[in-house]
């Protein structure tokens, strides 16, 4: 048992000593993942659990007809990514993001939100 506790203690010390940062997870989005909003938002905001490397972090948004509605290069500040949106009417919008956290871990994901009562 003493050996086992020793191993656990060593590992705990290593964890405490390491300045580790994990992958950047999407903490929340505005509009919310899977939500329905009354009118098309002028901007999409993604907030992550880690700070991002702006040069390697991207987001694209497509509107109800499949065309891109984001205004281009996203603005990255710390753990937040923002991109402007063009109005494309009611319907389902798809968000695809791809980010690199400051510890070089890459993550990506996608989700949808809906505007008005469209498909």
């Amino acid at each position: 048992m003493a050996k086992f506790l020793g191993v656990v203690s060593l590992l705990t010390a290593l964890l405490a000593a390491s300045a580790a940062q994990a992958h950047a997870f999407l903490d929340h989005a505005s509009p919310l993942v899977g939500s329905t909003v009354a009118t098309a938002p002028p901007e999409l905001t993604l907030t992550f659990t880690q700070n991002l490397e702006s040069a390697f972090s991207t987001v694209t948004v497509t509107g109800p007809n499949g065309a891109r509605v984001d205004t281009g290069k996203a603005q990255v500040s710390g753990n937040t990514m923002r991109v402007g949106l063009k109005a494309a009417g009611p319907g389902t919008y798809r968000v695809r993001w791809h980010v690199l956290s400051v510890d070089t871990h890459t993550t990506q994901g996608s989700f949808t939100f809906r505007v008005g009562g469209g498909r």
């Binding site: 191993v7 290593l14 390491s18 940062q21 994901g109």
Partner: protein
């Protein structure tokens, strides 16, 4: 004898860590947007840099009257290349008979050599092949908890998430299944001490899991409490069926059904499951298994968390929460 064995094992583990802390290592099981957690009864379908420290099991044996069994195990997994990894593990077993008689000691050292056959991000599909080796005479044979013979088990693993279902499927997209099937081949066919044949056994099992992290990041953010958004409710089934060289032994299938839950964090996960024997030959009453599992690729992203050779070549994609 037992103490010498445990010291040697601890020393070997220590030696294992020395070069690793000077190099680099792994990622856990991400396939597309899907994260397959390390499961407690069935292995996940990925090579990875991770450590289970410890896994604790409490159960009652199938003996009449039943004995109480405690198992404490440790497993360390390391990617050698992006797609090839090895695991080393061992278990300390303590069995107390109703009359007070105790059997305890280490089981045989177990290693696994695994190769990632495929990862299909779009369909959240992972395939893995491996050879599991229990090394004979490396545990407490004299205490009756290890065997002098080895066991080779070629094993196939798979995982499939349902995120590629159409959007109309809604919450069903957060489900995933994993499974494994292996064929245990002992290096001896007869146990002269017990006077019985040593059977070849089909070992198989699977999991059904629902990912709250996946639900939140890919389907719908219900703004639930953060703790809930980190949970993966799960049911595991692990079974064994003797299929050859079973003369004179019981041929019944044994195993457990394990309902439980896994909490997934950024650096580690904690799992807890009940263990329900599938029949009287599998145990007596409901047991319990708990596990602390460490993600070495996130704890040590530039050292232990990288493959020893070649580094990471593929983009890991994790659920976000």
């Amino acid at each position: 004898m037992l103490h010498q064995s445990s010291y040697s094992r601890a020393f070997a583990l220590a030696l294992l860590f020395v070069p690793l802390t000077c190099s680099a290592t792994l990622a856990h099981c991400f396939v597309g947007s899907r994260f397959f957690p390390a499961t407690l009864a069935v292995d996940d379908p990925c090579v990875a840099d991770e450590m289970s420290l410890p896994t604790v099991t409490w159960s009652h044996t199938a003996d009449v009257p039943p004995a109480t069994e405690w198992d404490v195990s440790v497993e360390f997994s390391k990617r050698i290349t992006e797609n090839f990894g090895i695991s080393v593990g061992d278990t300390f077993t303590h069995i107390r008979q109703p009359g007070g008689f105790v059997m305890e000691g280490f089981t045989n050292l177990e290693t696994a050599f695994q190769y990632q056959i495929a990862k299909d991000s779009e369909h959240e599909l992972a395939l893995l092949a491996g050879l599991v080796v229990d090394w004979g005479n490396t545990g407490s044979v004299s205490a009756g908890v290890a065997t002098p013979w080895s066991v080779l088990t070629p094993t196939f693993y798979f995982g499939k998430g349902f995120g590629d279902l159409p959007p109309e499927a809604g919450w069903l997209r957060a489900f995933a299944v994993t499974g494994q099937i292996g064929y245990q081949m002992p290096t001896s066919s007869f146990d002269p001490v017990a006077g019985v044949f040593i059977p070849q056994v089909l070992a198989y099992g699977g999991t059904l899991q629902f990912s709250m992290p996946y639900l939140k990041s890919e389907i719908v953010d219900l703004q639930l409490p953060d703790f809930i958004n980190h949970l993966i409710p799960i049911v595991e089934v692990a079974l064994q069926t003797p299929v050859a060289n079973n003369f004179g032994n019981s041929a019944v299938t044994t195993g457990t059904i394990n309902p439980g839950v896994i909490w997934v964090g950024s650096y580690f996960q904690i799992g807890a499951e009940a263990m329900i024997p599938v029949n009287a030959d599998s145990g007596s009453g409901v047991g319990f298994v708990g596990q602390l599992h460490l993600y070495l690729d996130d704890i040590f992203p530039t050292t232990i968390g990288q493959p020893l050779i070649g580094g990471s070549q593929t983009v890991a994609r994790k659920p976000s929460f």
